[in-house]
Amino acid sequence: MNPMDAIFKALADPSRRKLLDRLFASNGLTLGQLCERMDMSRQAVTQHLNVLEAANLVSTQWRGREKLHFLNPVPLQEVYDRWVRKFEQRGLKALNRLKQKLEGEAHD
């Protein structure tokens, strides 16, 4: 799969976005720690992590016998540079701020 396609595919799933949010809040977690608070089987979490790893959104390192998972935002920077910044204008930023203000802090 093309790397950009892999990133968007990985981000298309709410459970996978939740896993990224967990790692953003607390980086370097084991599979067991990631399974806590995820309402799904260990096997399902493993599969989601594989998709995230294939998209390079999650990197892993072994520390002794533990495999730790880290958020890797580098591909998101590439998405930003390719798909956001190019289209960005000052006006869009102002609109976005207004939208956030009106909608409160809620975000997905």
């Binding site: 370097g28 390079n56 990197s59 880290f70 890797n72 935002p73 580098v74 998101l76 540079d81």
Partner: protein
């Protein structure tokens, strides 16, 4: 322990030697990082991260390990905190050829949680690595660096 530990990975269509040179030679680092990385790169020597614009030193540290073009370990601190051993974090860069790409891994460990350095590197590394990839693959760095500074 791992809360202040980061692992960034990028795949670059290049050779390990080119990526290595791009990380260690000022004439390359200044193109995508807007800083010169200056050192003789001998274990035990110091290194400095100097702004191209004005020459201000923004990061200082020591070279711990230097094995071209595979692995280097450097320490990392703000010059204002150069006399505080606890302020030094540790950066390990590893290059691995994978097919026609190089997998570059940056592990930044031992940051003080909540410190300015801790916050800074989280936005810094993704932009630096993205810009490095762009420079080596297309000949052009990203403008994000300059944009972020003027914003």
């Amino acid at each position: 322990m791992t809360e202040s530990d980061y692992v960034y990975v990028t795949y670059i269509a290049s050779t390990p030697q080119k990526v290595w040179d791009a990380l260690t030679q000022p004439e390359f680092t200044r193109q995508y990082w807007e800083h010169d990385n200056v050192s003789d790169w001998k274990p035990g020597s110091t290194w400095e991260h100097r702004a191209v614009d004005g020459g201000k030193v923004d990061i200082v540290g020591k070279v711990v390990e230097f094995t071209p073009p595979k692995r280097m370990v450097i320490t990392w601190a703000s010059p204002a905190e150069r006399d505080k051993p606890e302020a030094y974090s540790r950066v390990t860069l590893e290059l691995e050829p994978t097919g026609s790409m190089v997998r570059l891994t940056v592990n930044h460990a031992g940051l003080i949680p909540g410190s300015n350095m801790h916050k800074g590197i989280q936005s810094g590394w993704p932009r630096v690595l993205s810009s490095l990839k762009s420079l080596l693959e297309t000949g052009k760095p990203l403008e994000t660096w300059a944009k972020a500074k003027s914003a």
